[in-house]
């Protein structure tokens, strides 16, 4: 069997294109994905044109909000580029310099101020997005929504604080500025105290009863308006999320991305290589000669699985080490993720052998490998809650019957998550390797 493996490696070495691809592929993928992952933290660029007057802060009672504060709030989750005009902002979006533009109209301040009046108007900002890219447009919508939520939250807090000040004035009394004049407000608490003092001086009768009614109202109003302050504050953020995670521990997004990249590469390299290599034995008429008393079909099969495992393992390790230059990989956990790659490579190789044995022709084997691997792998990435129960069951069965999902789970567990599930994933892959090898052996009977 070792001579068969050596022969396949010699043949591989004799194909400059194949050899170059096997070396360059993981390096290029590692560079591309690595750079993409390191740029992941960068924010969306948004062009901002502020037409509001610079020297007119918005006052809510004693609270003020100026244009810079609104801008800072808007730009908290995005990178803002200042635009000189609406046209300038629109051009930035069209040229791709900015993914969206936010225009603060001149009357925005007045409309925001009107929220604290008896005649509130609806403040609006203009948003310009580039609709030619569906995915980017969706992402931009989310970012803009987040921007506006931040700004709305700021205004709601300021309005709430202003309203609290008015409530305090009504409750406790104090000075109040109106149209440039300072006015004194008595307040409900002081009113109650004054009324109580007067109560004993008023003789019993109708006037005293009226006075007692006014005292009861003042007391009741004081007690209840005390609750209004906290209520107004709560309105600005009525629901807070307290996230509790249950079920299996999920890998981080970085680990998941590393896992998907590595297992995709492992899958394509091993399945295509083994399926093509086995079919080539038939095309070059060598299979019959080999099995004419020299080696058994099982030995040929094991040599092919060995070839795929060795080459796939090498490619995946190069890719993973390359990615490790960009993102943090725990080298201390290397035995776990190396085992995951090894078991995954063996399972994919056995699957490739089954395909090659069934196809018996290199082109057919290659085509079948791509047509089966790609959709099954993508299906394995569909979240459970994105489909109905029936489809979810189908996806679970397909994912379990193909090495992609268990290999991905094994690798992400090996990279990040502790626990016993990684050993179950190894076992799962070992079972798949044995099952696909058995299928390949059956197919080789009529090879």
């Amino acid at each position: 069997m070792r001579w068969l493996l050596l022969k396949d490696l010699q043949i591989l070495r004799r194909s400059p294109l194949q050899l170059t691809l096997l070396i360059l592929y993981p390096v290029v993928i590692a560079l591309l994905v690595g750079f993409a992952m390191t740029r992941d933290g960068e924010q969306t660029t948004v062009a901002l044109y502020n037409a509001m007057p610079a020297d007119s802060p918005l006052g809510f009672g004693g609270e003020e909000v100026d244009g810079d504060e609104i801008r800072d709030q808007l730009c908290d989750r995005v990178d803002c580029l200042s635009a000189d005009s609406v046209e300038d902002a629109t051009k930035m979006v069209e040229s791709g310099e900015a993914t969206a533009a936010v225009i603060l109209p001149e009357d925005l301040g007045e409309k925001i101020l009107s929220l604290a009046s008896l005649n509130p108007q609806s403040p609006e900002v203009q948003v310009v997005v580039n609709g030619s890219n569906t995915v980017e447009s969706e992402v931009t919508d989310d970012r803009i929504e987040a921007m506006l939520s931040e700004a709305n939250l700021l205004l709601a807090k300021r309005l709430s604080e202003a309203a609290n000040q008015y409530l305090d004035l009504i409750l406790e009394g104090g000075e109040f500025s109106l149209f440039g004049q300072e006015l004194e407000v008595l307040g409900l608490q002081k009113s109650e105290q004054i009324l109580k003092r007067l109560e004993n001086k008023v003789p019993a009768g109708t006037d005293r009863e009226e006075l007692q009614r006014a005292i009861r109202f003042a007391g009741l109003a004081t007690d209840n308006l005390d609750l209004a302050g906290p209520l107004l504050t709560a309105i600005t953020q009525p629901i807070k999320a307290d996230k509790i995670e249950v079920g299996d521990e999920a890998p981080s997004l970085d680990t998941f991305a590393i896992g998907v990249t590595t297992i995709f590469a492992l899958m394509f390299v091993t399945v295509l290589l083994v399926a093509g290599s086995l079919a080539l034995e038939k095309e070059e008429n060598a299979f019959t000669r080999l099995t004419a008393g020299l080696v058994t079909r099982l030995q040929i099969l094991l040599a092919k699985v060995g070839l795929g495992t060795v080459v796939g393992f090498g490619v995946a390790v190069i890719l993973l080490v390359g990615l490790g230059l960009f993102v943090g990989i725990e080298w201390g956990r290397a035995p776990l993720w190396l085992l995951a790659i090894l078991f995954g490579a063996a399972a994919f190789s056995a699957g490739g052998a089954a395909l090659g044995a069934a196809a018996r022709e290199v082109r057919a084997a290659t085509l079948a490998a791509v047509m089966i691997c790609l959709p099954v792998a993508l299906l394995s990435l569909v979240p459970d809650d994105a489909v109905g129960p029936a489809i979810e069951t189908v996806i679970s069965v397909v994912s379990a019957a193909f090495p992609f999902k268990p290999a991905l789970d094994a690798l992400t567990s090996g990279l990040e998550i502790s626990g016993s599930s990684v050993w179950l994933n190894y076992l799962h892959l070992a079972v798949l390797a044995a099952a696909y090898s058995a299928l390949a052996r059956v197919a080789l009977r009529r090879f």
Binding site: W3, L4, K7, R14, N285, A286, R289, L294, V295
Partner: protein
Amino acid sequence: MGRLCRATSHKFLSVESQVSGPALRARGVSKAFGGRQALEGVDFEVGPGEVVALIGPNGAGKTTLLSILAGIAEPDSGEVDGNGVAWVPQQAALYRRLSVRENLLLFARLQHDAGQTNDPPGQMVDRMLELTGLGERAGDRVGTLSGGNQQRVNIAIGLMAEPAVLLLDEPSVGLDPGQRERLWDFVLGLVGTGTAVAFSTHDIQEAERYAERIVVVAEGEGIFSGTADELRQAVDTGSGDLESSFLAFLREHGH
């Protein structure tokens, strides 16, 4: 050379060798693929140092018979006795991206590991390179060789373990006359050392020129075994042309 007996039964071919016993013998071999009967009770023998040609129409069962004689295919019934049988397929069974030496070395190693020979693989390769006259092309990839040279490597692999019997399936297909002559010089050289050779062919002239005996197979049955002259005598065409006699013989037997 062997005494060649004309077959009197449609299903029985008997060939006796003047040497002690046949190098390869098959008795009552039958084989069906699905509902089609590829071979029906065929007997066959070849002795050491003999050259036997298998001729017959397409689909007659020649390749199936050779495959069963080589042990590659199992017969449904009947038995085959013979040791040291090497089979050379019709199409070169070689790795085109490997060199001549690497191809020879691979099969030498496998034959050595399989216990077919005790000779060191490197020594077997050198011997075959010398025998085939391909020593100068040893480092060339097989895919760059001419069809004739590929066939020489193909045959060399079959001969490396010095088999007692060499089975060749249409060995000269695709070769020009010069290549064909060199190929047969090579094969007949082996025959001179005692190797028994059985080959299938569609070329009647090739069968007459190189084989001492001709076996006619048609629709899975062995219907003639004898010399070329005996085949001519079996039917009277008046021309003396072996191909005409062969076709007339087939027609006479309903094929």
